[in-house]
């Protein structure tokens, strides 16, 4: 049976992980490679690295880091942040990234999705969507959630799929950082609509939040950052818990 995926997300700035990390086993918690290896050991199903500086000057640092990660880890990983062109994707996949995640640049220029899909395959393109509920409508935000758009979230994810997106990484800004649980309503709606995998993101605070999102929506994966970094929810414990809920887990 196909398993639901648990995906830790690492924020990268100048080649180092940011947000505090509290792993006793790590000698250098700021080293993304060390942290990535620890997550693989714990049973993470995939990893996402998000370059939050994403400036041109830092590109070579990121490429070098991706090469090191690809050398060291034996599970799939996605790299995102500041990807604007097919050339960016080329250099990241050459360095060893399995997938890339695009967000603002895809909204600005939707054909970037089809350009990447036709060159590298749909499986390579993760379209990240930051969404926020305004009155009753879920709208798309860009630039790390700072810039509102008038685009409806459901319209955008459908368009992204048509253009060749291989996966949708859906982050609810209403829930991100709140530890009050994934946004079940929009995740349900998006996952129901799509024929490609949907990764739920934003709001994980307890093990029950993960079982809720898998039991009430068709999400294929759940992504979180701080609950894993601070070891508030150790991945092996989370996976054991989800198995007791009869959720298919590796």
């Amino acid at each position: 049976m196909l398993k639901k995926r648990i995906i830790p997300c690492l924020d990268i700035k100048n080649g180092r992980t940011v947000k505090g990390v509290n792993f006793v086993s790590l000698t250098d918690a700021g080293d993304p490679v060390e942290l990535a290896k620890a997550y693989v050991q714990q049973g993470a199903d995939e990893l996402v690295f998000l370059d939050i500086t994403a400036t041109i000057e830092n590109r070579s640092t990121l490429i070098h880091l991706v090469e090191k990660i690809a050398n060291e880890i034996n599970i799939p990983f996605t790299v995102g942040g500041g990807i604007n062109s097919v050339e960016d994707v080329f250099s990241l996949t050459q360095a060893g990234a399995d997938k890339v995640s695009i967000n603002s640049s895809a909204i600005k220029r939707p054909e970037l999705i089809s350009d990447i899909a036709s060159r590298f395959g749909s499986q390579c393109v993760v379209v990240a969507v930051d969404t926020k509920k305004e009155n009753t409508d879920w709208k798309v935000y860009t630039h790390g959630g700072r810039t509102p758009t008038k685009i409806s979230t459901l319209d955008w994810v459908k368009k992204a799929e048509q253009l060749g997106a291989g996966e949708i990484l859906l982050t609810s800004m209403n829930h991100d950082g709140t530890k009050s649980g994934f946004s079940l309503d929009i995740t349900y709606e998006v996952a129901k609509t799509m024929n490609i995998p949907v990764i739920a993101s934003g709001g994980a605070g307890t093990k029950e939040h993960f079982s809720d999102v898998f039991l009430t929506t068709k999400a294929s994966a759940a992504l979180a950052a701080s609950v894993f970094h601070f070891n508030e929810i150790p991945i092996p414990e989370l996976k054991r818990f989800l198995k007791t809920k009869n959720i298919p887990i590796r």
Binding site: K4, P76, G121
Partner: protein
Amino acid sequence: MIAIIKYNAGNIKSVQNALSRLGAESVVTDDHNTILNADKVIFPGVGEAGSAMVYLQERGMDILIKSITRPFLGICLGQQLMCSHSEEGNTNCLNIFDVKVRKFPPTDIVPHMGWNTIYDLKGEIFKNCVDHEDVYFLHSYYADLCMNTSATCTYILPFSAALQKDNFFATQFHPEKSADIGDQILKSFIEL
């Protein structure tokens, strides 16, 4: 020395990284002599069947691959290209395995992406594996079950997760992305 066949498909770097983690020397090459003289050959790939076959045929690599007598491992698109025919681009393939490659019916999410269970394992590359371990898949096309099936997986329907005939091995999943179990499978291949 293991030759990794270079052609117009991706995912070659991660195979080379996996081999180097396991201490095996490899070279990415499309040189016929290097490939023929290698101890083992790996035929990886993420890509599209039709354009990959055209590329191989234009360079005489279709005939070369079939003539190899050393241990040979196709991965993902590599496995599909070793079958008789693929629905992807209605492509005649290498016909090492007499089995057709079809697109998954759209009754569930396609591609089949993520960790899934393999069972009914046969053959030397699975000698250190037990049934019902999870490995990483990423594909929209699958090979039917057949007499060469050496591992089975079920997604929408049962299909060949691995194939073997004589020196020709193939996996639909990605051993290079399948954590410890994937390393075990690659190690068993390296030690053949």
